[in-house]
Amino acid sequence: MKAFLTRRKSFVVAATAALALSLSACGGGDAGGGSNPAPVEKPTFAAGTTMEKLSSAGTIKIGTKFDQPLFGQVGLDGKPVGFDVEIGKLIAAKLGIAADKIEWSETVSANREPFIEQGKVDLVIATYTINDKRKQVVSFAGPYYEAGQALMVNKDNDSIKKPEDVKGKKVCSVTGSTPAATIVDKYGAELVPAATYSACLEPLRNKQVEAVTTDNVILAGFVDKEPDAFKLASDETFTKEPYGIGLKKDDTEFRNWINDQLESFEKDGDYKKAWEATAGSVIKTAPSLPTINRY
């Protein structure tokens, strides 16, 4: 019995040590990585608004993708970089929050709405397409960018040019994503589901699937990394994917405020700068801010 007790004690010690290790490993701040827009000094907001709450708390929780090249991708230092991240930093700065005070958390396609609903994050900026079904659960500021669905194929594949060409063929996409639903429901492709978009690359390379489909900007990131292996089937997109900033449903003041900020970024040139620092390295034509959808 004594032996058992010592064993248990040493196990607990080991467990605590492991826990401490991981806590210290994750505890680092989120400084650096990309630009560092200067926060506004002591901004003032009407009492009771979300802006006022966040501003006086001095921190904001933003959800983004960690595996989306050019938009939100985590680097070797564990900090996300990309256009979404830059937009997040710009908004935080307007609230008087420095970039290193932002708490980034990973949101995957499946948990964006629950995270907003339950207040796990204040904002979701994660290649998040605005659509009516989602609007029933969350509210959207923006759009701040308009992407469109496209197809990526192997470099030597000339048989697929438009979405109609993939009818009955195997196409890889992420389970449950909007592009996956579109390519199946509208164009009759056979879906091969993956956990992440990057997981689709190997099957494509091995010709086990004919194409990979998702938003053009994401695919452009993949093509940029391996221009000898992949290409976009066509420069044309076949859907419109307005990316919005997700926030709690019916927080109209916050939504309108963010929309105002987005327009000011465009006017100040911050929007263009954010683009050039990130996605602009691959997609040369800088976009202009789409018309804000105020509803």
């Binding site: 396609s109 389970t175 449950g176 994503s177 589901p193 190997e202 091995n206 086990q208």
Partner: protein, 216 residues
């Protein structure tokens, strides 16, 4: 509730694919696992060594890694398949076989020594001792743990949903994403279909367990 009824065809399709993956992998794993167990107790050192290494490595590999290997590394090696179900079946059956081999081996160990001695004394060789005397008795005592492993297999097939096979879990995820307002209902529906497979198996296991216990 409406979400489940509306999407019943999708659930059903996922359920059938899960059933298919589990059944095929289960049969392959049973055969492979029994062969591995036989190799483990055989007189040929190389077979023993191979079986030991196989079981040790596979039992200690996370299933996700096994899937990764079957779905992504194997094609790189030139083993290409049209259907990703094949990758899933390879991953599930090779992984599960290691556990089955261990269970069968412990069953072999539980057969009284006198059985083997008696068989040998009437002139049987290793193959006969094992296939005619030991394994039939061993399999009976290991049926409950084998069923438990098969239950685990059914549940493990859910990992295939993240590796290019649209089965029950994959559909559940898809429906959860499409119905952001009814996530819990959608997932409960998915759980129900899994339980439809695993609970009867569990009841079967405890019934057999009781029967075997009485027979002793």
């Amino acid at each position: 509730m409406d979400v489940i009824i509306e999407n019943l065809p999708l659930y059903w399709e996922g359920f059938l694919r899960t059933l298919f993956l589990s059944a095929v992998s289960g049969v392959i794993a049973l055969v492979l696992g029994t062969l591995l167990a036989a190799a483990r107790v055989s007189p040929v050192a190389a077979l023993r060594g191979f079986s030991t290494v196989y079981v040790e490595v596979l039992r200690n590999t996370p299933l996700t890694i096994a899937f990764f290997f079957a779905a992504i590394v194997l094609p790189r090696l030139g083993v290409k398949f049209e259907q990703f179900e094949i990758a899933a079946i390879i991953a599930l059956s090779t992984y599960t076989a290691a556990f089955i081999a261990e269970a069968v081996r412990s069953g072999v160990n539980s057969v009284p020594v006198g059985q083997a001695e008696a068989a040998r004394s009437i002139g049987m060789g290793f193959g006969q001792v094992l296939s005619l005397i030991i394994l039939p008795q061993a399999l009976r005592t290991v049926i409950p743990p084998l069923i438990n492993i098969l239950i685990a297999l059914v549940k493990n097939s859910s990992v295939a949903g993240a590796f290019f096979v649209l089965e029950l879990f994959g559909y559940g995820r898809q429906l959860a994403n499409a119905n952001g307002d009814a996530v819990i209902t959608v997932l409960l529906g998915t759980a129900f279909f899994y339980l439809l497979l695993t609970v009867p198996l569990g009841i079967l296991a405890s019934t057999v367990e009781r029967k075997v216990a009485i027979a002793r």
